[in-house]
């Protein structure tokens, strides 16, 4: 996938690039409004990450133009200005998602994958991982053709793991993914244990290998055993 990262903070742009390229994507960076304007005019991208506050202009202006030009790219607003107005006007202009800073790179990655799946394959693309088969539109999971019944949280957790294979995911990142940004879970973050435990039990019960590894109490990693 080709991704354009419009972000004026070089360290942040770089970390996004490193994480996303490790997933096999090709990333380009744009550090200000003009550069972003030029690049979006010249090339096609599968996904564009836009910071709203940019030197030289507003990211919202770029989104407006992309939509006017019928750009196919999925657009995710990545902004420190987590104000409800920006969120709403961004989504009204046609951005597909809104991710307030600070975010986990794993979350960004999962959002990009979900967006591209929705955008380019009408959600019909299957996710396959060895013996595990997921049909995102039906929320259906099968292992060796055996249907596995997952709760909503367990399903979300599985998709999140599959989007970030071979990555260490901290408990905080998983908790935030499952219960949203606003939940104040600091001292009850352990609730994700039970979700992970149940997901693992259901998958191995249906005959899958155990791919969820614990990483020193720090978090989890989805990787072949």
């Amino acid at each position: 996938m080709k991704i354009l990262i419009i972000e004026d903070e070089p360290t942040l742009a770089e970390s996004m690039r490193v994480y996303l390229e490790a997933e096999g994507n090709r990333c380009e960076l744009a550090a200000d409004f003009d550069e972003a304007w030029d690049k979006t005019g010249l090339y096609d991208y599968d996904c564009i990450l836009v910071d709203i506050t940019l030197p030289g202009g507003s990211g919202l202006e770029i989104i407006r133009r992309l939509k006017d030009n019928n750009q196919r790219a999925g657009i995710i607003i990545v902004s420190a200005r987590d104000s409800i107005d920006d969120r709403i006007s961004g989504l009204e202009l046609g951005s597909d998602d809104y991710l307030p800073k600070p975010f986990h790179l794993a979350e960004l990655n999962a959002r990009i994958k979900a967006l591209v799946r929705r955008n380019q394959f009408g959600g019909q693309q299957h996710i396959d991982y060895r013996e595990i088969h997921v049909q995102p539109q039906q929320h259906a999971v099968t292992v060796h053709q055996t249907t596995v019944h997952l709760t909503r949280s367990e399903y979300d957790l599985l998709i999140y793991f599959l989007a970030n294979q071979n990555r260490v995911l901290t408990k905080e990142a998983v908790a935030e993914h499952l219960s949203g940004d606003q939940a104040d879970l600091l001292d009850s973050i352990d609730f994700i244990y039970s979700h992970v435990k149940n997901l693992r039990k259901k998958l191995t019960g249906a005959g899958a290998a155990d791919y969820i590894q614990s990483v020193y109490g720090l978090g989890y990693k989805w990787a072949p055993a």
Binding site: D82, E172, D184
Partner: protein, 425 residues
């Protein structure tokens, strides 16, 4: 007590005292003056009386001379000088005892010493004193009353700018953008008061806005460094050939970052509520929203093996959806977070009242303080102490009555009453 009332009271007390003292003094003085005058008259008359007696062939024992009763009695020698006294004597016309002023003195008449007493009826004097006294007192009372009314009216009128300023300050709202208007006054002190109050409130508002602006800016500016740190930690975690010690350090770092992020998020939210960024309202079906929230939190409920008791009746509230979401989220998360493993959680929505009860540790401090920012039930827990502060802020904004109670047995109850709902103007 009102100032006017208090001054009136003192004034009245002083007036009564003055009235009483003046009355007594006036009465005494009048009486003294008139009696003295009368005594003088009698003394003056005694010379003429002596001459008159000397011309008589026989000195009579007793006779009436004009309005005076004169008695004479021979004595051995002239010993008594003029001696005045008050006596009661029988008055034959009125046929009763009447007060007399009597002067007694010895005088030699035609070589024979006599003790002469001249008694004059003082009823007339008493009448005179009484009339004079009452007329004076009536005028004095009228004066006092008039003065009292005048001060009352004047005070009310003169203090009007003061009360106007007081009312302004009383309704002063730091968050409102409306400037205070103090009516002009011709009285220097009140003018100074108005000027001072105007300057003071303007400064208060400026400081408040600056502080709010600062919090807002600081929170915003913190987002980017936080994002950088978080992403760097995320990237470091991906290098797996690290020692367990490194991972432990990264974990601590990650947890601290999470706390910082939550703190910042909560402060941002509070600033935004203060900044009226969530100003619109729309009808919100609370039952549905509570349902969603409870479903989202089901994982946490399970993890703590909490028993959920719920009784939700259809209730609709006008508010901003984001704020209502935050309100319920914090209320429920709080009830779960501070719960004990295997405890209870009760959510009841009925008659415009939302009641959330949860079992937990007995609370020792003041429950009212828990609604303030950065106040925690226990010092050792991980919570930021902002959850309920945000709930309180939202409630204040919409005029919901918020009540928090904790019993020694460890039952915590938060009760929200939507009926007191006044939509913000």
């Amino acid at each position: 007590m009102k100032l006017l009332q208090r001054t009136s009271r003192y004034y009245l007390a002083f007036g009564s005292l003055a009235f009483l003292v003046t009355g007594v003094l006036l009465f005494g003085v009048l009486r003294y003056v008139i009696n003295d005058e009368m005594d003088d008259q009698v003394a003056d008359a005694s010379v003429r009386l002596d001459n008159y007696l000397a011309q008589l062939p026989v000195v009579p024992d007793s006779f009436y001379q004009l309005d005076a009763v004169v008695t004479t009695r021979p004595v051995a020698a002239v010993t008594m000088p003029f001696t005045f006294s008050d006596t009661l004597m029988f008055e034959p016309i009125e046929r009763e005892m009447e007060p007399y002023r009597t002067v007694t003195y010895d005088r030699e008449i035609n070589g024979q010493p006599y003790r002469i007493t001249v008694s004059r009826l003082t009823v007339e004097n008493e009448d005179l004193i009484e009339v004079m006294f009452f007329v004076s007192m009536a005028f004095f009372a009228l004066f006092l009353f008039g003065f009292f009314l005048l001060t009352r009216y004047l005070s009310g009128w003169l203090w009007r700018p003061f009360y106007a300023a007081l009312a302004q300050v009383q309704h002063f709202d730091l968050k409102s953008r409306q400037a205070l208007v103090f009516p002009p006054s011709s009285i220097d002190e009140f003018d100074r008061l108005s000027t001072t109050l105007r300057a003071l409130t303007a400064k208060l508002r400026r400081d408040y806005l600056a502080l709010r602006q600062f919090t807002d800016n600081a929170s915003h500016e913190l987002q980017t460094p936080l994002a950088i740190m978080r992403n760097q930690v995320d990237l470091m975690l991906q290098t797996t050939d690290r020692s367990e010690e490194d991972f432990t350090r990264l974990q601590h770092l990650s947890e601290a970052l999470e706390r910082l992020k939550k703190l910042n998020q909560a402060l941002l939210l509070l600033t935004r509520i203060d900044n009226e960024q969530y100003s619109g309202t729309e009808p919100i079906e609370l039952t549905a929203l509570l349902d969603t929230k409870l479903r989202q939190l089901a994982g946490m409920l399970d993890a703590k093996s909490l028993r959920l008791e719920r009784d939700l009746h259809r209730t609709c509230v006008r508010a901003h959806p984001v704020l209502m979401d935050v309100l319920l989220n914090n209320l429920l998360s709080n009830a779960i977070k501070h719960n004990v493993t295997g405890g209870n959680l009760g959510v009841f929505l009925k008659h415009d009242r939302l009641t959330v009860t949860n079992s937990g540790a007995p609370h020792t401090g003041q429950t009212a303080h828990l609604l303030e920012r950065f106040t925690k039930g226990r010092a050792d827990n991980q919570s930021l102490g902002l959850g309920l502060a945000i709930v309180a802020e939202v409630c204040e904004r919409y005029g919901f009555a918020l009540d928090y109670r904790a019993t020694a047995a460890g039952v915590h109850t938060v009760c929200l009453n939507f009926r007191t709902h006044n939509p913000p103007s």
